[in-house]
Symmetry: C2
Subunit: 241 residues, 2 copies
DNA sequence: AAGGCTCATTCACATTGTTTAATTGGCGAG
DNA sequence: CTCGCCAATTAAACAATGTGAATGAGCCTT
């Protein structure tokens, strides 16, 4: 129930959900599961019959490449419909795993298709959810390709703050996320050593404090300026869609 | 008409389109436009009332950042529905421009919504198109973050070959694309100089020949092995969706 | 044929990122 | 309490990539 309300809140922030659509979402049968740190939620190469929604905690998508390297292609926060796209893609080309302890709910594709069957607008709202993910991915591509390590790190901190704030998990320039520096490296495409150096640069400039999985943004204005951060891509505005 | 048939071919490759859905697509009113090299097709920050489909030639999405740098986040080939997502996102967070001369057709969101209104399966097929784009974007993230310049270049060459082959624009290990080394740098997140160096390495290994916008893959097997290329993410299989 | 484009190429050099390895500090298990 | 593990931190040598300036090759225009 917690998971479902979160999804409603995420979607309702982008466009008003009429009561019947909220009812459709809340009536979906769910299978709640808790995963421990680093446990695999969905395996690369599998053909899921259900999609999962983060209710509590964090999940990451990652693509493994040869020689044990991996790249994290997305960080999912509560309310995110992590692998909704598997309803269309069929074969997972990446895996999803828990970052810290993570509660998710699984929803069968069959039930989602039924719910969407009679409601084109609900269908679009779910489509929107995958589209916002894609928008974030484009921004990550730009960060990886054309921003310096320092800017990139600053950018991801701004993004996480904004995304967590709207689900009530960040306030007063502070949030917590169980991300080690090694994992942060897999997000930023950097080595652990360089993540550490870069983090120290931001600390030296009194922009952030990152200690024990708790991040404090000391000066959001300057951090966003450094990162060239513009929240448009997060689509945090209310529109008929 | 050419554009529409190409879209049908792209979708039909992933799942059989029943005749009524093909008819719906072919009945869509289109507005064909030809753009010259580097002309802007859709502007960042705009709120389009139509989406565009590439009929002929190539288009790129790019995100500009401060100081004139830019990152290309997608390359679109004939048959691709470039900015279908604008139907949901409303405000463009990036621009689309022509790569060489490019024929596109614009289709009004209103008409698309009407066509989808009565056909949940058609809706899903269009959703699928944006989802495959997202899948390609994830792979680009991994290339940018965790592959060397050489692997990344090899990867994009493999990807372009496969994508062009299915629309009949590549065969015999050869294809043409009007991409300068500077633009390739904006795709790979590298400087022109380094693109040039990397290209020469691939040439020296007798893997590819790239001359006058014409690429010849001399040994696909070895190139794919070097790039760690696996076409799963392109979703080139036929499934009920 | 001369000039002026664009693109590809080269060089020298600066910057950034990686690798490996050693060190520190916190914290839970026994 | 102490051992051992994990995350974080630091160092130094090295590799990869970026920058800026200059040159060459091809092609179009005049």
């Amino acid at each position: 129930m917690f998971g479902k309300n979160l999804l409603v809140r995420m979607l309702d922030r982008r466009d008003t959900l009429p009561p019947d659509e909220i009812a459709l979402i809340e009536a979906l049968p769910v299978r709640p599961v808790t995963f421990g740190p680093d446990e695999e939620i969905v395996r690369e190469g599998s053909r899921p019959a259900e999609s999962c929604l983060v209710a509590n905690g964090f999940a990451v998508r990652n693509q493994a490449i040869r020689e044990g390297k991996r790249q994290i292609t997305a960080i999912h926060v509560p309310g995110d419909f992590v692998d909704l796209h598997s309803i269309l893609l069929k074969v997972m080309d990446h895996s999803v795993s828990a970052l810290g302890s993570c509660d998710v709910v699984f929803i069968r594709h069959k039930d989602l298709l039924t719910a969407m069957g009679g409601s084109p607008h609900l269908t679009r709202m779910l489509w929107l959810s995958t589209t916002i993910d894609a928008s974030i991915q484009r921004t990550w591509i730009t960060c990886l390709g054309r921003r310096s390590a320092k800017q990139h790190l600053a950018h991801i901190i701004c993004e996480l703050y904004v995304r967590l704030e709207i689900v009530g998990l960040a306030s007063d320039q502070t949030f917590a996320i169980p991300l080690t520096q090694a994992e942060l490296g897999d997000v930023l495409g950097l080595s652990v050593v360089h993540v550490n150096r870069t983090l120290q640069e931001l600390r030296a400039k009194d922009l952030v404090s990152w200690k024990d999985r708790r991040i404090v943004i000391l000066d959001f204005q300057r951090l966003a300026l450094l990162a060239d951060f513009d929240a448009t891509y997060l689509n945090l505005f209310h529109e008929p869609r």
